[in-house]
Amino acid sequence: MINEKIIVAGFGGQGVMLMGQLLAYAATNQDLNTLWFPSYGPETRGGTANCQVIISEEDIYSPVFSKCDTAIIMNGPSLDKFESRVAPGGKILINSSLVSREVTRTDIEVIKVPVNEIALELGNLKVANMVMLGAYLEVLKIFSIDDIIKVLKKTFGEGKSHLIDVNREALKIGSKSTK
């Protein structure tokens, strides 16, 4: 049964909010229960940003949780903040391009993805979040890359449709990177 609690965290400009929202949109499209909740307020500017997502086949009650199943960590400060919040046996995906230190916990699975490097290779640092999302899709195993692309198309609208291809590419490479 699907019941996944996710934290996505990083710098303000890294697109962590969008990552969470894409998952929630995809869940909505599949008639799953879902809930997305951002850290909001001035801290987002410049500082760190994070959001929490719940995806579940059951009714979702508490929108907040002390422990998540998966944490997606896009920068160093976020690792410091959220490492302890992963449930034992949970997973932590780490942007190894920006996170220098090692995860200290041993009761969780660590997946490192050098997302910035990969994105730079793709010629667009902005898709770093998609690389990471691709990696997570592989971990979550609920949504396909196409599910996300479908959502992205809607989110981008006409204006940014030319960006779909590079995003698809990023998702793909990301999903392969965990293997």
């Binding site: 710098f11 303000g12 400009g13 890294q14 410049g46 500082g47 920068n75 160093g76 920006l98």
Partner: protein, 77 residues
């Protein structure tokens, strides 16, 4: 030989590049590495050309530039 010298407080810098644009001598440029805050900070790429005119410091919104000059001048513009 430079008449001036700037010291950028790298970890305070937010990479806005106002100083880069303001420098009449093209002393400054943006770095490619990110700092602790995730920004690419300003860096003196042509330190030799610096006149110590303080323009960069005057425009820096985060007060992260110190300027030194060979002979004394008016402090803080």
């Amino acid at each position: 030989m430079a008449r001036g010298r700037v010291v950028v407080s790298v970890d305070r810098c937010k990479g806005c590049s106002l100083c880069v644009e303001a420098c009449p001598q093209n002393v400054l440029a943006m770095d490619t590495k990110v700092n602790v805050k995730g920004y690419t900070p300003a860096v003196a790429i042509n330190p030799d050309k610096c006149t110590g005119c303080t323009f960069c410091a005057l425009v820096c919104p985060d007060v992260c530039i110190e300027v030194y000059r060979e002979k004394g001048g008016t402090k803080n513009g």
